[in-house]
């Protein structure tokens, strides 16, 4: 122990790390030794429960989750570009865009979904097409549009001002400059934060239950909840969690590839 005062900080850290690994390993061993494995397996990893969910979890629940996510994301991204361009243009429309963004970023997504599904019909007798999911997709489009508008605005502003000047000096209008020169460059900048937005949206589709689903409209979380209550077993929750991860984990990798592909230095 007398050598300790002479150890470099990095060496001390290494010793500390070895110590914490040892403690962690010991804890795991204790849990493994004393846990009731047959019980855990029966409740969380029960093959007969899992078989009952198959293949509905894939061809109904996961499929619906993806449909709700992708359609809201595509429509929401278009809305975001529109809102960002309007906001940057200023004027009354820009002010309206800002108000829209602040409103829907400031209230819970659940409230927006509820309003689209129930308040609209009650207040105006107007039913959005596509029943519960239709109203839900409209609501998530609005929420995504509001959040992503700020991402797109930051991306547009990150494009060097000389780019727009060069385009304008060729005689391109401000709209043409935005479409051909600024937006394509902004898109590359916004890919990482928009991926984040996609993942958040994927999880937010679990809020759509409030809009009301028929059996074939259920998304992953609702599907899992129902399966838990009918089977009295927790296996469906584990399977649902895995289903979300099956989408999100490869996504990170694919987006990395896309970023490389769009790199102007390719």
């Amino acid at each position: 122990m007398s050598v300790l005062p002479y150890l470099k900080p990095t060496a001390r850290k290494r010793l500390g790390r070895i110590g914490s690994y040892a403690i962690g390993l010991a804890l795991i061993l204790v849990v493994v030794a004393f846990a009731d494995w047959p019980h855990i397996q029966k409740v969380f990893f029960n093959p007969s429960v899992a078989m009952k969910m198959w293949p509905a979890i894939l061809i109904v629940a996961l499929k619906n989750t993806l449909i709700y996510t992708v359609s809201s994301f595509v429509l929401g991204s278009l809305l975001a570009v529109l809102l960002a361009v309007l906001k940057l243009a200023g004027g009354p429309l820009g002010w309206a865009a800002s108000a829209f963004i602040e409103l829907f970023r400031g209230i819970p997504a659940l409230l927006t979904i509820y309003a689209a599904a129930y308040v609209l019909p009650i207040a105006f007798g107007f039913q959005l097409p596509g029943e519960g999911p239709g109203a839900g997709i409209v609501a998530l489009t609005i929420v995504t549009g509001a959040y992503a508008a700020e991402i797109v605005r930051a991306g547009i502003q990150a494009v060097a001002p000389g780019q727009a000047e060069a385009a304008r000096s060729l005689g391109l209008s401000s709209g043409q400059t935005m479409f051909w020169v600024v937006l394509p460059q902004a898109m590359r900048i916004v890919i990482p934060p928009m991926t984040n937005e996609f993942v958040m949206l994927l999880k937010d589709t679990s809020l759509l239950y409030i809009a009301g689903f028929t059996v074939i409209q259920k998304e992953l979380t609702t599907f899992g909840q129902d399966a838990v209550s009918t089977t009295g077993n927790a296996t469906p929750i584990v399977m649902v969690a895995i289903s979300y991860l099956v989408v999100t984990l490869p996504l990170t990798y694919l987006v990395g590839l896309l970023e490389k592909k769009l790199d102007p230095k390719r």
Binding site: L170, G171, L172, P264
Partner: protein
């Protein structure tokens, strides 16, 4: 398209600037500039940094909005809010210090976009004209390269080809060689010299005194937001009359021999 400014060739000079003022907040950068550039004339604008020479150039095609004064460009009053600026700009090429090529397009793509979107040329015609101009600047073997794969000098030559592809009647150059490595400056200046000899009307903001002296017809020395002296380039650069011009040129042409007495006199100015 060629008939857009019918009286251009015959009567009116392509650039007529009258009593031009430009302020950024409280800072008045241009304090009443009067300048006319005739058809086919090459005018260089020189002066210390902060003299307003780049701002002057950027006011010509209204990249900067003048505070006061008049700019007649190809017969159009640029400060008139009813004038469609894009139509005038389409016939006025601009080359920037930092090239400003579009990184999301290839070299030839950069030369095509304006032709297609603004001049509404057919794709085949646009490609043909772009190729011709890239060849002229010596880059026919780099047409499909993105800007990031090109050297600074090559990028600036693509930028010149991009401007030329619009068949401009006037070319504006904003310190086109200032961001280049010294050994790449010559290629760009050579292209500009050829352009001048071909009869292009040019306004060039530059620190390249030999280019100003040998290629341009007239040189303008600016300092503190005003034109201090102007005249035939050869005379102005070899035998400047104004004290401020003499000191500036001496410093630029012979930077290692600044005498203390001169420094003192500048401050006193």
């Amino acid at each position: 398209m060629s008939n857009l400014f019918p009286d251009l060739e015959s009567t009116q000079p392509p650039v007529v600037i009258t009593d031009l003022h430009k302020s950024f907040g409280d800072n008045e950068v241009l304090k009443g500039i009067n300048l006319t550039v005739s058809q086919g004339e090459v005018v260089c604008v020189i002066g210390p940094s902060g003299s307003g020479k780049s701002t002057l150039l950027r006011c010509v095609n209204l990249l900067e909005n003048p505070t006061k004064g008049s700019i007649q460009l190809l017969g159009a009053e640029m400060t008139d809010p009813d004038v469609e600026l894009n139509q005038v700009r389409a016939h006025v090429g601009m080359v920037f210090q930092s090239f400003n090529l579009f990184p999301n397009m290839t070299a030839i793509g950069n030369c095509i976009i304006g032709q297609r979107q603004v001049l509404k040329r057919s794709k085949a015609e646009a490609i043909e004209i772009a190729k011709k101009n890239l060849e002229m600047v010596g880059l026919s073997d780099r047409m499909d390269y993105v800007p990031a794969k090109l050297s600074g000098g090559q990028q600036q030559r693509v930028a010149i080809a991009r401007a030329l592809s619009m068949d401009p009647k006037v070319m504006l150059f904003d310190e086109p060689t200032a961001a280049l490595d010294p050994e790449l400056v010559g290629d760009v200046l050579a292209v500009m010299r050829d352009l001048a000899h071909a009869g292009m009307t040019m306004m060039v903001v530059t620190h390249e005194m030999s280019f100003a002296r040998d290629v341009s017809d007239r040189t303008i020395f600016m300092d503190g937001g005003v034109i201090v002296e102007e005249g035939p380039s050869q005379d102005l650069i070899t035998a400047p009359k104004e004290r401020r011009t003499q000191i500036f040129l001496k410093r630029v042409l012979d930077p290692t021999h600044i005498e203390d007495s001169e420094l003192g006199e500048t401050e006193a100015d």
